[in-house]
Amino acid sequence: MHIPDNFLSIPVWAALDAVSIPAVVLLSRRAGSELDESRIPLLGVMGAFVFAAQMINFPVGIGTSGHLVGGALLACVLGAAPAALVMTAIIAIQAFVFQDGGVLALGANVFNMAIAGVLAGYLPIHFWSTTARRKQAIFVGAVLSVMVSASLAMGELLISGIAMPKPVIVISLALFAMSALIEGAITIAVVQAIEKLNPGLIQKKQPSSGRALIVLSTVAVLLGGVGFLMASSAPDGIEQIGIKLGLAAKTQFHAPLADYSVGVFESSWLRRASAGLAGLLLIYGVCLGAGRLIGRRRTV
């Protein structure tokens, strides 16, 4: 589910970068205000644990095996914001060190997995973690986290105009559903094993989770649902939506490419590219500024 570079169309990855950057800044400040920096080793080690855990195979019959993704487990152990921050760091390291996922596509991957995925996974856990339904809550959370991130990724690919005939979509959704169930099973099995080892390690009630987090989590689940619905409707429908919104790459490249005259192509590309780069620089500047402002307000 890590989308590489050059799969998403420019407006899609740029928009997601624009959304993810301030979101991550906010998460950092929130994680930084919840805990002082002495919790950073715990966050880091838990992140390393999730990374390493992804290597352990869980046999799920018929010769296949799955592995843990870890968003819901982290949310259980650390709380939503720290978990999202840790997942962001993991995704960034995966992109740079392991070329798993693109660099320009980091905004998309972080949004799908670290933000929406973790928040969606957190929601059931928040509501039911102190009740008798805790195990089910954790299971549902894990399932949701995978379904939401996968659906969003699918939706983004479709909007970008990546061709996906109906059978491919159906198979992909089926695979997502399977992975989601596996994630649920592994997460709950590991949580139970941990509690058997040492009952105190996983907190039963999250220390702090304001209304904002609940709202965000709900939005994440809804977004995931939208992504899922979009993905399951006919592919042509998606492309039409994408084209109408001007998001699909088709509108960008097919029209000018059909007309191969250098002059027009050159100037229109330059205009678009410089506009694009200027836009990115602007977004970057705004995020930096916003981040500093937010930070200042907190200390006041």
């Binding site: 050059n6 950092s28 080793p41 966050l43 990374f51 061709a163 592994i186």
Partner: protein
Amino acid sequence: MHHVHVDSWSQGKSVLHARDPRAKILTLLVFLTVLATTPADAALTLGIDAAVLVAGILIAGLPLLQLLSRAMVVLPFSLTFGLISWMTGDHLRAIGLVEKSYLSAAAVLLIVGTTSLPALLNGFEKLGAPRMLVLVAQFIYRYLFVISEQAQHMRLAASARQGDPRLHGKGRFRAAAGALAVLFARSYYRADGIHRAMLARAFTGRFPLLSSLHFRLADGLFLLTASAFLIVVRTQ
């Protein structure tokens, strides 16, 4: 493990290794952005981009074939979607997907192969990345291999018991969960140990960071000429 290669590549010495990480990060972003806007059949542009990468790899003294084959990690994904695109008639996108995602991966490898991750993270922090994120990433990277090794040992131990007839299906599932739980507990207590070591050395609650990056003329020149070259090539 692959990471060992990238890690040792980044310990080398060359003009590229010596460049400030910020210059390299920004150049990488320019390269990737220019590549993203390049149409799939602009063969000359793509060819020059590839040549630039190869030149960079050679200048940096990195093993060319190893790096190029490492960049192939991205191919399973892009070939699959490329095939599907081809079959739906979108030949251009199919080729583009495969070519460009491969070049992107190679470009990232070039930068990571000439910049140690701590230096890279330092560069990101100076470019404005949130402090918490950078610190967490530093710690993840520090303990990633230590804990992975532990996980490897557990896998070996588990597979050594593969022949146990009592363990099948559900049993093996539970065994794997148990192994993860043990790994979790050890990691959790390791974090405890780290915290104590921090306290013992008068940790004040805020990490003191050594900032030793100096953006020099050479770095500026590198960034400007590389970016200008890539953009000019793109517009031809």
